[in-house]
């Protein structure tokens, strides 16, 4: 290791320790920044030591869950993941994780068994690809999310295309062939990436149209053909612009997936999946609900296949899976069964609302809407989400968060009533929701990202026990 790398690791470790010592938030970012400032190539050098290679996972929704699934699969297959699991998915977060894993001499222990599993922010993917040339890149989906930060979804789609074009150039192939890309066939914006790609592609998709919905969501972001601009038509829509799409004008159409979900049954607490693979079949009972989690599992299966991980560990890991931090968690608090389901953009939220509605019964729902940087400061997306989905089933609702008043107005329009309370204090909102829920009954909490962090902390301190608890 060169002295610059060693200095960077030392600085990163020291910064991380100091920030933890003083109890400051954002410790991972500080450690990563400190290391990158001294050695901009540190990510490349440390990731390069992972003997089993690198897989990057990106997309708007599902990248945290898919990465965690990949990590569990790799562990079940006997590998030791280098995984930025704290949700810090920009370059500095990846650097911080690596600095923590490396020795002071810049060495990753037991390198032959290591696999780098990088959850990558959609805007950071081009930078990560250029730095580490991953063996595999998994793309989950592309939706509107934080327009104020990323710009339009088209900008993100273009930057992904440019990054992949660069990976095919001869001078980029320092590590052999260009990455295998694992693509969601049902998302026209993601599937488009494979059209002109010279490297290996693996498509995954849902064949079972029994889970399709009648109408295209209001929150649908890619309605026109990326090749010719004509409006796309769908024979089946699963959510948002995800479905069986084709362009009548130029003939561009959903590719036939290599990994096909041929049968799916969405249950109260689990999802049973039958999957056709290029070689044989796989059955998985995933202990998560919602079609979006079935897509996450397909993406992880695609990633495992592309990384040549064996099938049995894949099934074992998925069947024993527990949800990623705050995505779908359950807490026992004050005798109530509290479900927390992250809802941070219109498409993701609609999926969550459908999942809540699918299980029937009367609901009590506490919604949070925050407008922090990590949530996106523009909250106009709530007008594209279909809160109406759960309205007929809801007998108690409260609007909370830093933008509670906007949310209460949206709920009024969704038919929840003229006098929805707006409560900005998180602890007060939570206690009111618990009080409104009879002992032994279920409370649903649907927060945006920063609200999830706050409410989760309150719940975790109060929880007697929890069924879905993050390990480690």
């Amino acid at each position: 290791m060169n002295p610059r790398t060693i200095a960077a690791i030392f600085a990163g470790k020291a910064a991380g320790r100091a920030s933890r010592l003083f109890g400051r938030g954002g410790g991972t970012a500080i450690a990563g920044l400190a290391a990158l400032r001294l050695d901009s190539a540190i990510v490349r050098d440390l990731v390069g030591q992972a003997g089993a290679g690198t897989i990057a996972i990106t997309g708007t929704n599902g990248k945290t869950t898919t990465s965690l699934m990949m990590s569990r699969i790799a562990t079940a297959a006997g590998l030791a993941p280098l995984h930025n699991r704290s949700g810090s998915n920009m370059m500095r977060g990846v650097a911080a994780m690596l600095v923590e894993e490396a020795s002071l001499l810049g060495e990753i222990a037991d390198p032959a068994t290591r696999i780098a599993i990088l959850e990558v922010d959609e805007a950071t993917l081009p930078e990560i690809a250029r730095e580490v040339h991953p063996k595999v890149i998994v793309f989950t989906n592309l939706f509107r999310d934080q327009l104020d930060r990323y710009g339009e979804v088209d900008t993100v789609a273009r930057s992904w295309g440019t990054a992949l074009a660069r990976e095919q150039l001869p001078n980029a192939k320092q590590q052999g062939s260009p990455p295998t890309i694992v693509l969601n066939a049902d998302d026209p914006a993601v599937a488009h990436l494979g059209r002109a790609y010279a490297g290996r592609t693996l498509y995954y998709g849902v064949e079972d149209t029994s889970v399709s919905v009648d109408a295209i969501d209001h929150a649908s972001d890619f309605r026109t053909c990326l090749d010719c601009g004509a409006e796309l038509s769908y024979t089946a829509t699963f959510y948002g612009h995800i479905g069986h799409w084709r362009c009548a004008t130029c003939g561009n159409a959903r590719p036939t997936p290599d990994i096909q979900l041929t049968r799916v049954v969405l249950g109260d607490d689990s999802t049973s999946m039958e999957i056709a693979l290029p070689a044989g079949e796989m059955r998985v009972v995933l202990p998560l609900t919602g079609l979006y989690n079935a897509y996450n599992a397909l993406a992880a299966i695609g990633g495992a296949l592309a990384m040549s991980l064996a099938r049995n560990p894949t099934v074992t890991a998925l069947e024993g899976f527990s949800a990623a931090f705050g995505r779908q968690e359950r807490f026992a608090v004050q005798g109530r069964d509290v479900h927390v389901l992250l809802g941070k953009n219109p498409t993701g939220l609609n999926q969550v609302l459908r999942t809540v509605a699918a299980n029937g019964g009367q609901k009590r729902i506490l919604f949070f809407l925050n407008d922090g940087i990590a949530d996106g400061r523009d909250i106009s997306w709530i007008w594209d989400a279909d809160y109406e989905i759960v309205q007929p089933l809801t007998d108690w609702v409260l609007a909370a968060g830093t933008r509670a008043e906007d949310l209460a107005l949206r709920l009024k329009y969704a038919g929840f009533g003229d006098e929805i309370d707006a409560e900005r204090n998180t602890a007060t909102a939570l206690q009111r929701a618990l009080d409104a829920t009879p002992v032994g009954e279920t409370l649903h909490i649907i927060p945006t990202y920063t609200a999830m962090l706050d409410v989760r902390e309150l719940l975790a301190t109060q929880a007697g026990s929890s069924r879905f608890w993050e390990d480690g």
Binding site: E152, S220, T224, E405
Partner: protein
């Protein structure tokens, strides 16, 4: 007051121009009509559909992404612009938000210097200063007719009004048309253009009623709008006044 009143609204390109929750504007127009016993009729027009200038009391168009805005711009000029101009000259109400606001001006100049023709309804043009220049993004509050309009703006283009154009409002906090002259939006006859979304109309009930009043006066000669329950609207408006830009 006449026995039965109707408001006919035409929504242009609802599936292609829908990026910033603009559906909330249509929901608001519907709600504020139906709560007063006014029949609400909605027509949606997309690519290729012709517009009949006699068919609408109020026309709405929202924001789009760049790629979709180019498709829409072509179609607008080919199939609808003349008829919309005719309607606006006959005092039909028009509300154009964000991307549509730009499209209804004289032209849009890209950073490369290429000029795209607009529908020419408003005497204004928009220039994009290039990807290196900051987009104008954030919460915005403007002064309008002794009241306030609140919302969010997110635009790269800078809009400059021509001599025949009157601005809708003056910026209290935020950027507005171009971030420099302190003006926001445009008014011509009963046609309004603005960068403000959020959605615009749900939490600006006075402005929503102003548009409804203009449309109903023209159609029925009767602008009376009975008060309705605006507690949630007023509260959301008040909360937005104190947001950081």
């Amino acid at each position: 007051m006449s026995g039965s009143r109707t408001l006919r609204v035409t929504h242009l390109y609802p599936r292609l121009m829908n990026i910033y929750g603009d559906r909330g504007n249509i929901m608001t127009l519907r709600h504020r009509c139906e709560a007063r016993g006014i029949t609400f009729e909605l027509t949606e027009l997309s690519i290729g559909d012709a517009f009949d200038p006699q068919s609408a009391d109020l026309i709405f168009a929202g924001g789009a992404q760049d790629r979709e805005q180019r498709n829409v711009a072509q179609d607008l000029l080919a199939t609808k612009a003349d008829a919309i101009r005719e309607a606006v000259e006959a005092d039909v109400v028009l509300l154009a938000v964000c991307g549509a606001y730009q499209l209804f001006g004289r032209f849009y100049r890209e950073s490369t210097g290429v000029e795209l023709a607009g529908a020419g309804i408003f005497d204004l043009h928009t220039e994009h200063p290039g990807e290196k220049t900051k987009r104008l993004i954030g919460n915005i509050v403007v002064n309008w007719e002794g009241q306030t309009i609140v919302g969010f703006e997110n635009h790269g283009g800078r809009t400059h009004l021509g001599p025949a154009a009157r601005s809708l409002a003056s910026v209290r906090s935020g950027n507005g048309n171009n971030g420099t002259d302190g003006l926001e939006g445009v008014v011509y006859r009963n046609a309004y253009g603005t960068y403000i979304h959020g959605s615009l109309l749900p939490k600006n009930p006075a402005f929503a009623d102003h548009l409804l009043g203009l449309a109903l006066t023209r159609r029925n000669g009767d602008a009376e709008l009975a008060p309705i329950d605006d507690r949630a609207e007023t509260r959301a408006h008040a909360a937005a006044l104190s947001l950081k830009p």
